[in-house]
């Protein structure tokens, strides 16, 4: 049972999970009051019985629930996520346009939260009585209790209005039309505030977690062994202790990947970051059911990928998992 077997098992499991998610989403959507025909007719400002019947037929709403479900699932299996009536485009293309922005935002925030959180946690575990320890505790308390949109708005106020050094909205400057490195830098510049906003809440949590696990690891027998070997304190902390202390952070980060995706909806809305979150917001506002379903399904795909990456990271850090199959 090697690595390939493990990957195959995970993929089969992911496919089953996606199918259940598709069925569940569709059923929930079906149960919600109001349907797409009513929405369209509402937007048109009323329509004749005839037009309504036509629309009902066009969207397959005249058939039974199971028929509709079957049609939906088999279409999804072929990669057809439907058509957005509001944007007048196929759902899949619409979403795929937005995925990179969201992935960029979420992964940047995740990386910032994990790296900075672990670093702060480790330093405050090493020097528990210092101002750093106090800082971590306060940041954690603050970051964890402040709602995402509030800390986002505060950061906006500070860095876009009071000290205007960072752009407040969008992903790039339309006027500049830059390419290559200039474009990347422009995007990075726009990324700072939304990524920081999304990272803060998790940074607070991870620094607490890293601190607690580091304190435990520093008291462990194998750290004493490393000291008894005559290693420098830096090697003891950053080689022997850190690798073990980071395990709980990786676990929790993986578990919270979906929560972070949900947080991205708010952040993208506050900073008008053109990602899936913003699209989701609009699709719900417009009752664009097919688009909503598509976004939910793709979010599930992202979560599954996130979990897979977490497991990979875990296998990399902890040999006990690697060798036990």
């Amino acid at each position: 049972m090697g690595f390939v077997g493990w990957i195959l098992r995970r993929l089969a499991w992911a496919a089953g999970l996606l199918l259940s998610v598709a069925v569940l989403n569709f059923s929930l959507m079906h149960m919600a009051p109001g349907d797409i025909v009513q929405t369209i007719v509402g937007e048109m400002g009323g329509a004749s019985e005839e037009t309504m019947a036509q629309l009902t037929k066009a969207y397959g709403l005249d058939r039974g629930f199971l028929d509709q479900l079957w049609i939906y699932v088999s279409r999804v299996a072929q990669g057809d996520l439907g058509y957005s009536y509001y944007f007048n485009r196929p759902v899949l293309g619409l979403i795929l346009d937005r995925v990179p922005a969201t992935v960029l935002l979420v992964f940047t925030a995740l990386a910032v939260a994990i790296i900075a959180g672990t670093f702060l946690g480790v330093m405050s575990a090493r020097y528990p009585a210092s101002w750093l320890g106090a800082l971590v505790t306060i940041t954690a308390l603050f970051g964890f209790s402040a709602p995402v949109f509030w800390s986002g708005l505060m950061l906006l106020l500070l860095f876009a209005s009071v000290i205007p050094i960072l752009p407040a909205s969008g992903m790039y400057d339309v006027a500049q039309g830059a390419t290559g490195i200039a474009y990347a830098l422009d995007v990075a510049h726009h990324l700072v505030l939304p990524a920081l906003t999304l990272a803060i809440i998790y940074l607070a949590l991870y620094s607490r977690l890293a601190r607690a696990s580091m304190i435990e690891v520093l008291g462990s027998d194998y750290v004493r062994t490393a000291r008894a070997k005559g290693l420098s304190e830096n090697k003891v902390v950053f080689k022997h202790a850190l690798r073990n202390a980071v395990l709980p952070v990786v676990t929790v980060a993986g578990l919270q990947f979906s929560a972070m995706l949900a947080g991205a909806v708010l952040v993208e809305t506050v900073f008008t970051w053109p990602g899936m979150g913003q699209l989701a917001f609009e699709s719900i506002l417009r009752r664009d059911n097919q688009l909503i379903l598509g976004i939910l399904l793709l979010s599930a795909v992202l979560v599954i990928i996130g979990n897979l990456l977490t497991d990979l990271a875990y296998r990399f850090v902890d040999p006990r998992i690697r060798t036990d199959g």
Partner: protein, 331 residues
Amino acid sequence: MDSLLELEHLEVEFDTWDGRVRVLDGVSFSLAAGETLGIVGESGCGKSMTALAIMGLVPTPAGHITGGSIRFAGEDLVRAPQARLRQLRGNRIAMIFQEPMTSLNPVFTVGEQIAEAAREHLGLSGTESRHRSVEMLRAVHIPEAEKRVDEYPHQFSGGMRQRVMIAMALACEPQVLIADEPTTALDVTVQAQIFDLLQELRETKGTAIVLITHDMGAIAEMTDRVIVMYAGRRVEEGAVEDILDRPAHPYTRGLLACRPQLQLGKGAVRPALREIPGVVPPLHLLGRGCAFAERCPDAMPRCRDERPVETVVRAGHAAACWLLDERREAA
């Protein structure tokens, strides 16, 4: 006799919720090159703390060495800077611990954990230190050393892990090896193998050993001299035959009465141990007198009021007990 390691009136104190507690109170001994010294005593008597103090690893910030000296090859380690202690640790003085299951880092290969010390102290390169790891694993009789060098601790049994710990400790050929209850956590049959291994390494490499153990059989077989500790104090010291056959302190006699009386073959189960009645008192509640007075079958009024001074019983054999003083005065 030139001593390699010499402790004089070592004192270690801890800041605790009960105030300042003296965990080691005037511990002295000396160890010559190639010699084996046994340290015995019940749990909590300060055996591990003595070992940690020698390594310069008294837990900070609560613990401090507050008095006495530790001389290694003439150099006082109590006054040496941390950087110097780091040079000696794992290099000239090495230590193995009681818990082989938790003393190895789970995320690094055993080879890496052995090689590390050799790179740090001997300046070996990556390949050289790897060869050293394989060589050390062979020396501690781990089969298929070339293959197992790349495995992780969880792939080894408890006894094998303790062998790895020994290989790690001996990687730089230290002059002193401190073994703190190296077999307590292991099966009886494996215990004998580990002692045999230590004995063999001592004979081939001439390493001086400080052996902390509850196993009086191992004490008899391996050590030259023994110190007996109680509540952070040394209560008796002597050649191993004197301690085992002619113990002078009531505590030592109590300890010896506790050892299993059967001669055990491999795989035999130990009979339930007899114990000295009572427990080691909390250190912050010790009175002025002898720490053992409360549990001593022969205690006299004087024992509770005055701390006994060491009396020489015979050449190289001394004990801190007022009974000896009485007897001498009577004679």
